[in-house]
């Protein structure tokens, strides 16, 4: 059967991606600009044997998906800034208890309730550091409707593989944008399921990593009975406050991500082979950056684009490698403080010519905005 191209919204593609990845539990509290994800799940989940739960708030939503995941379900929620703030506490629980789940944060303009219907990329640091305590985190950022789908599948795969919550840091632009979309056939995109224990239930230790660095996860309700706590715990899941155990646990939360860093960090490049000007972009702004780079080339300035598909762990190596070839680096992002530009500066050092293009009024960064900075950079540095 020929698979038919449809015109669908980024939010719909996220819901489709979750379902394709095997998610069968959604709990959430609808909020603009993420509501269509909840809407789609409320329609589809009951039909495919899944669960859609409308919660009383985002605190409960996050709690519900953690609980559902521990029973063996692939679970997720979707929200925007104000709801994402409320989720932090239980998101931290998921980190500490090593519970795989996916949280979609469709970024809108803030702070607080801000501009509810307008886009931003101003939660990048909140995604990384929103919770207290030391931890590693994985976050992906889509730039198209197709990436909304593929990166949602990838988010579930990473969550399942590494027993971590994964954040899909989308923005209002991709979430509400509609594009051609053809649903991949089953099997066409790889789907990963969490590793389950094979040992005797009596000797199961829910937080003891295997040789691969990851602890297998049994399901509540199965023959494996185990304890989960947000407090410091040992491999068997029970409270353990010894310094040696605390050091092991905190390191384990980081090491399981660091070890697989190269498989987690995804970037894409456009016309970087001969570039003098490197644009570093993520999310929907990647598109404006690509258009600006093409315009710059028409005017004789060799510009290329590095898209940060994975925003956390930060693509240090990829940026360092391309950054040293560039004469100037331009980082466009929809926030005031240059949340990603600051990280780029950390990687490339203060001696590198790094230029920021920031918009924080709810309006979209245009190719023209970026081109202006490219030209200024070319004039001053090239």
């Amino acid at each position: 059967m020929q698979r038919e191209a449809k015109l669908i919204q980024g939010n719909q593609a996220i819901a489709e991606g979750a379902i394709y990845a095997g998610a069968r539990f959604f709990a959430g509290y609808p909020i603009t600009p993420s509501s269509e994800i909840a809407e789609e799940c409320s329609r589809v989940m009951p039909r495919i044997g899944g669960v859609y739960m409308q919660m009383e708030d985002e605190i409960a939503s996050m709690g519900a998906i953690v609980g559902a995941s521990l029973t063996g379900a692939k679970s997720f929620t979707a929200t925007s800034g104000p709801g994402f703030s409320l989720m932090q506490e239980n998101l931290g629980f998921a980190v500490m208890a090593e519970v795989p789940c996916v949280v979609v944060n469709v970024q809108r303009s803030g702070p607080s309730t801000g501009l509810a219907t307008k886009p931003a990329q101003s939660d990048i640091m909140q995604v990384r550091w929103g919770r207290h305590g030391d931890q590693a985190v994985i976050a992906l950022s889509p730039s198209s409707v197709m990436e909304c789908f593929t990166l949602t599948v990838e988010a579930f795969n990473l969550a399942e593989r590494f027993r971590v919550p994964v954040i899909l840091a989308a923005d209002e632009i991709v979430a509400h944008m509609r594009e051609n979309f053809t649903l991949p056939a089953p099997g066409e995109v790889k789907v990963f399921d969490r590793k389950k224990p094979s040992v005797n239930p009596d000797s199961y230790k829910p937080f003891e990593p295997g040789e691969d660095g990851i602890a297998p996860l049994a399901a509540y309700g199965s023959e494996y009975v185990f304890h989960v706590t947000s407090s410091m715990h040992g491999p068997e899941g029970f409270s353990n406050n010894s310094p040696a155990n605390a050091a092991w646990k905190v390191a384990q939360l980081h090491k399981k991500i660091e070890r697989y860093r190269d498989e987690i960090v995804i970037t894409k490049t456009f016309d970087v082979e001969d570039m003098d000007v490197l644009l570093i972009a993520f999310g929907a702004v990647t598109r404006a950056a690509r258009a600006a780079a093409l315009e710059a080339r028409k005017e004789g300035i060799k510009a290329g684009v590095l898209q940060l598909v994975t925003v956390w762990p930060f693509p240090d190596r990829e940026i360092a490698e391309l950054g040293k070839k560039a004469k100037t680096v331009v980082v466009p992002e929809m926030n005031y403080s240059g949340q990603v530009a600051g990280e780029v500066t950390r990687v490339l050092g203060p001696a590198t010519d790094i230029r920021r293009v920031n918009k924080y009024n709810g309006q979209i960064i245009t190719p023209g905005d970026i081109l202006e900075e490219i030209k200024r950079g070319a004039k001053e540095v090239l």
């Binding site: 015109l7 632009i173 509400h176 944008m177 051609n180 598109r287 690509r290 245009t366 190719p367 023209g368």
Partner: protein, 174 residues
Amino acid sequence: MKDRYEIILAGSGGQGLIVCGMMLGEAAILEGKNVVQTQSYGIASRGGFSKAEVIIDKEEIIYQQVIKPDMVLALTEEAMEIYASGYSDIPVFYDTTLLEAREGDNLYGFPFTEMARNLGHTGTANMIALGAMSAVTGLVKVASLESVIKKRFSGKVADMNIMALCSGVDLIAK
């Protein structure tokens, strides 16, 4: 028929502009094109400002927003002011039921809303406008729009929308 079209549909929430953009996009996909449709609106779902953008291209669409429109549909005075007043070289369609009539070679003013009311539902004004726009510009085939209507609606609602579409096409054919 050009390789690329950038279209702005602007007015107020509840006029069906986003649905109009989606149906136009779906029709273009039926013709094998790439489409990006975006929208911009405020926190009011009815009566507030609303805009849909559609880009149709044979090639990949990199930047997702309209930079220079090839045509505009304006269903409120405000939309006309913001999106159409600067252009004299592209077709601008507007609703004379809701806006004051103006003069200009590029202006296509028709009473879309009044015609829709006479057809039995003001909600079909968007389809009448889409019919007129397609007839003037060759944007998409009327048959493609008919297929999209039939997919989206059934029975009398589909019939009424097709009737609206055809009456829009007739405005130009006459």
